[in-house]
């Protein structure tokens, strides 16, 4: 099964709050889990990525949490800012770097 399920579809967070987006996968061969950020009119940009040998990766205000046994991973945006308002996609790939994407989450951070 190649599908990656992403939730929620949309999210509204107050400035300074924590934004949490979740993804689940079925294919246990997946070994690379990136998150992409997309602003209107732009292509997706690689935000942060994790491999299954670690349970957490942090880059600035962005953290990926990874639960291998549950086949789930999530993106946490700490101290969310209006400039973080964008669409976020999770993805997964196995060898060969062919990505399978989630359906996307539209994040709006209210000031």
């Amino acid at each position: 099964q190649q599908q990656v399920k992403q939730s929620p579809q949309s999210l509204i967070v107050q400035k300074g709050g924590i934004s949490i987006i979740n993804c689940a996968y079925e294919n246990t061969a997946f070994d690379y889990f990136p998150w992409y950020q997309q602003f209107p009119g732009k292509g997706p940009a690689l935000l942060i990525a994790i491999r299954p040998d670690v349970s957490e990766k942090k880059e600035g205000r962005f953290t990926i949490s990874f639960n291998k046994s549950a086949k789930q991973f999530s993106l946490h945006i700490m101290d969310s800012q209006p400039g973080d308002s964008a669409t976020y996609f999770c993805a997964a790939s196995d060898r060969g770097n062919k990505l399978v994407f989630g359906a996307g989450t539209i994040l709006r951070v209210k000031s």
């Binding site: 996609f89 770097n97 062919k98 989630g102």
Partner: protein, 111 residues
């Protein structure tokens, strides 16, 4: 910085026309990809290429073909455009074991 450029930002074509979308990357990446992006469906892989003159079908190749004559250039061809091919088309490139880098996208409208 990796730069992926796409030949057009916006295109309007008639049903039945042959459409060429071109993508160029400047970082000597082995892999190149074509996706289409539709609301609520995320990014779906059309075709990808691991090397010059090599191509592999993605999840939705019907109605499309591709060409990769040079390492830096990957073209997507709609042999006979149809209205259900109205979409945002995104090109991406990557090294064998890195994340994918996307171009700005081409918004295609087929009338």
């Amino acid at each position: 910085d990796v730069k992926v450029t796409q030949s057009s930002r916006y295109l309007v074509k008639r049903t039945g026309e042959k459409v060429f979308l071109e993508c160029v990357q400047d970082m000597d990446h082995e892999n190149m990809f074509w996706y289409r992006q539709d609301p609520g469906l995320g990014l779906r892989l059309i075709y990808f290429s691991y090397d010059v003159k090599m191509k592999e079908k993605g999840d939705i190749p019907e109605g499309y073909s591709v060409s990769r004559e040079k390492k830096e250039r990957f073209s997507l061809i709609l042999e006979s455009a149809s209205t259900n091919q109205t979409s945002m088309y995104l090109c991406a490139s990557s090294l064998l074991t890195s994340g994918q880098y996307f171009g700005p996208g081409t918004r295609l409208l087929v009338l």
